[in-house]
């Protein structure tokens, strides 16, 4: 079964076919939600809500398009809505890696921790575009499609996001708490 067939069967009343789409994209969606929200608990809520929203509005989905970019739009709307209501309550957890995977070699542990911390300190909007570009390796055109903005805007947003990320990296490096982390 492919996405189109699953959607068609789902629209025809075989709702169990939606599980095919959920199981196929749940991990990817979860990774993207974490990149925006910064923590796994909220990310799980956002992904569940996004899939439910997608299910409820499946009739509106243009079957000629790919499913995941459409789901991503729903997911990011959910995430930003969640951030708007919970922004003050949510605190990122710096002691564990949520966005990045553990490095294969031990010598890169501090570098990965530094990048993770800097990513968690930039805004969700910056974190989203940086992870789409650098962790997913998406082109400007695909990022533009995902975020529903022109390619020129992707270019400038990415530039300023990288600059702010760099500033965070520099400030973390200067802070004493990171030196302690390096010694551990």
């Amino acid at each position: 079964m492919n996405d189109t067939e699953a959607i068609k069967r789902c629209l025809a009343g075989e709702t169990e076919c939606f599980s095919f789409l959920v199981k196929k994209y749940q991990c990817e969606a979860f990774g993207h939600a974490i990149a925006i929200l910064g923590n796994s608990d909220d990310a799980l809520d956002a992904v569940q809500e996004a899939f439910l929203d997608a299910f409820r509005t499946l009739k509106k989905f243009d079957i000629s398009r790919r499913f995941y970019p459409w789901l991503y739009t729903i997911l990011r709307n959910r995430c930003f809505k969640m951030l708007a209501t919970r922004r003050k309550e949510v605190k990122a957890e710096y002691d564990k890696l949520e966005i990045l995977s553990k490095p294969a070699e031990k010598k890169f542990v501090n570098e990965v921790a530094l990048v993770e911390k800097a990513l968690l300190e930039v805004s969700p909007e910056d974190r989203e575009i940086l992870t789409l570009k650098h962790l997913d390796g998406l082109s400007y055109e695909i990022i533009a499609e995902r975020l529903d903005i022109p390619v020129g805007t992707v270019m400038s947003r990415l530039y300023y996001a990288r600059r702010r990320f760099r500033e965070k990296v520099n400030s973390i490096r200067k802070k004493d708490d990171f030196r302690e982390l390096e010694n551990e």
Partner: protein, 147 residues
């Protein structure tokens, strides 16, 4: 040096290093960088930050979202058979409503509107709910002692 042009050069240089189309040509960028120390420094620092990010991989998760939404989806699903039942219910309601109006019209009085209001409220309520009031929810359970 024009600050706006410097930004344009930096953004273009970033796009080229990402393998994308840029706002300015490579020659224009090269010429500018040779004469602008600020841009040279900025691009060097930017390159380091980009390398730091590009060497990373997204953490792969193994989550189970389906089990959390399965029941909700099953409950909210309106199968074609149920949809047909809903339409039959709506049609029946409409016929009864029309019959009631025809029945009360010969003896029309201002108070009749109030008599019809309760019917209209119930009808609109179930339309807004989008549910058949005669469907029994089998998932409902009774908790505690039942004598």
């Amino acid at each position: 040096m024009n600050k706006e042009y410097c930004e344009k050069v930096r953004i273009s240089a970033m796009a080229i290093s990402d393998g994308e189309q840029s706002l300015l040509s490579e020659l224009q960028i090269k010429e500018h960088i040779e004469s602008c120390a600020d841009c040279r420094l900025e691009l060097e620092q930017q390159k380091n930050a980009t390398e730091l990010l590009s060497g990373q991989k997204r953490r792969l998760y193994d989550v189970d979202v389906w089990s959390g939404i399965e029941t909700v989806i099953e409950q909210s699903a309106i199968r074609p058979k149920h949809r047909l039942q809903l339409w039959l219910f709506a049609a029946l309601g409409l016929i009864l409503f029309a019959y009631k109006i025809i029945e009360v019209l010969p003896v029309f009085a201002p108070g009749v509107i109030f008599k019809l209001m309760s019917l209209a409220v119930v009808f609109v309520f179930f339309i807004l709910l989008g549910q058949n009031p005669f469907i029994i929810n089998q998932n409902l359970t009774i908790k505690g002692d039942v004598k």
